[in-house]
Amino acid sequence: MNSVVLVVIGLAIILAGYVLYSRYLSQRVYRLSPSFLTPSREFNDGVDYVPTNKFVLWGHHFTSVAGAAPIVGPAVAVIWGWLPAFLWVTVGTVFFAGMHDLGALWASVRNKGRSIGSLSGSYIGGRGRNLFLVVIFLLLLMVNAVFAVVISNLLVAQPTAVIPVWGAIVVAVLIGQAIYRMRWNLPLVSVVGVVALYSLILLGDRFPIELPDTILGLSAGAFWIIVLFLYAGVASLLPVWMLLQPRDYINGLQLFIGLGILYAAILISSPTIVAPAYNADVPEGTPGLVPLLFVTIACGAISGFHGMVSSGTSSKQLEKETDARFVGYFGAVGEGMLALGTIIVVTAGFETLAAWEETYSAFNEGGVVTFVSSGGSILENGLGLPVSLSATILATMAVLFAATTMDTSVRLQRYIVEEIGALLGRRLNTTVATVIVVLSGLALAFGADVSGSGQGGMIIWPLFGTTNQLLAALTLSIITVMLVRKRRPYLPVLLPLLFVLVMTVYALLVQVVSFYNEGNWLLLVLDIVILVAAVWVVTEAAMAIARARNEAPEPDDDELAEANTRDETSG
């Protein structure tokens, strides 16, 4: 099958979802109102609450939610053939991710811009807040381990990316200095930064840095993982203006450039998809498609992490409630496009079916490294760039996405550790909390794999997916409770919620068995902890929804009436 046909069909489904389904959601279900006084206007303080142009806000929202995860997930999941992954990404984006992201934004906007953590306290009940802390702690722990492994795999597989990846840190520091000390204007800085980054890519392509097989008694991959955690620990302690802010910014620009390059190359070279639509002959040891597909692809189909972004920052900057449709739903569309592009690359960037099968020789083989190598050949055919340079560009891009996610997540987890410390009555200082975060991430990266090679992260990828879905389920329960209280149609939220919960619990049970058979005790324990949290989410959500059904309905038009009186008084 020609990949352009698939791209067109996929984009048509996703865009139809935006045009039709998001309109249904915003008119009938969430009933977004242009006259509703949003938190950004009500509490405008110039800091957190700032009314922001919807295109700019979409820019941050999209770059905060999209990262390496929509690349890694599909790149692993095409082992079952391209069709299941394609369907889950397109249908998931339309009915799950878009609905969830828009819903989280709406829920937060209607509650004075409060975050999902705080909403779970008031809508799920007293234990909701602790439940949220448990889920988010597990999620961030896995993000750190998994992304460290993704980056180290890429650095080993693509030694030409070493110079641009570490050089990008220097570029970011210089950009921070140029802006805050030398007062350069931003468009100039942006151009200089992007040019510097791409010069580093050219340089790295000429001078690959390959580590020896063992360094200080560690394998090259394990060495990179330790270096990465040291870096992430230090980076999270620096003032944000020095490193994280410019790094985020340049990565945001990169995301748009990368997405453009990727789609341009696919459209121009229009490669043929060599992978089977449905792989009936999966390698031995591959877990069943149901339920594992639905947790392997989390970002790109539905991801709880988006709810954190929606309710954490975006909801406080939304100028009009009706902008939520563009910012929330179209943000998910952008991420779906990234996942769709990845599916095309890892199924069409091969010469023959045999070559594809050789790469996907076992579950968790392939992944992001395949994305880089097969994407390299597509870029070569489409844009005429040499294959090694193309691979370097993609590897650098993927590492930068993963690294910003890791930077942010180490910092966020430090706050969570401090908060848990406070709950236990201990005040942890920043350094101690950071050390705890770094050590627990390292322990998981190394301890998860019985062979001790530091490759544990990829084994926990499906577990990361389940936790991410669990967080999404928590958000969806809050939205359902709100809709039930307002006596609005709630099935568009409840049905995906049930689907996600069933798949998550099912996947956890399947994995309990496989971890037990492998004798992987650390992951077995982790799996059981997540399972307990999942059962906890199910119970609390069911109780909260049942309670909401029995309560008197919330007057639905109160906000409208309020808006009217305001208009009268002001006019």
Binding site: G46, V47, D48, V50, T52, N53, F55, V56, G59, H60, S64, I179, N185, L186, P187, S190, P239, V240, W241, L244, Q245, D248, Y249, G252, T313, Q317
Partner: protein, 97 residues
């Protein structure tokens, strides 16, 4: 649509450039505004403590100069002592609540 005259076109381009620059500016600054505000508040809190150090019983060699600053910091005093975990004003001669 009529083709814009040259002068119009240039003005339009400049305006577009300004809007793009403003958008980029927002894109750069917004995600970190909260961190900056918090850092500034922490610094102001430390400054407040230095200004009030004589009154709090800490010898301050620059006390003669910081005294002049007292009227400037009075406005923020109430928020400051509440942030520092004291429900009521810790100083007898400043009664804000």
């Amino acid at each position: 649509m009529r083709p814009p005259a040259d002068g119009d076109g240039r003005a339009g381009l400049v305006a577009l450039g300004r809007r793009v620059a403003a958008g980029l500016e927002e894109f750069y600054a917004a995600p970190y505004r909260r961190s900056f505000a918090r850092a500034r508040r922490d610094q102001d809190d430390l400054f407040m403590m230095m200004v009030l150090s004589e009154a709090l019983g800490l010898p301050n060699p620059a006390g003669f100069y910081t005294m002049e600053l007292l009227p400037v910091v009075y406005d923020n005093f109430h928020d400051w002592h509440r942030r520092m975990g004291m429900e009521r004003s810790p100083l007898d001669d400043i009664s804000c609540c």
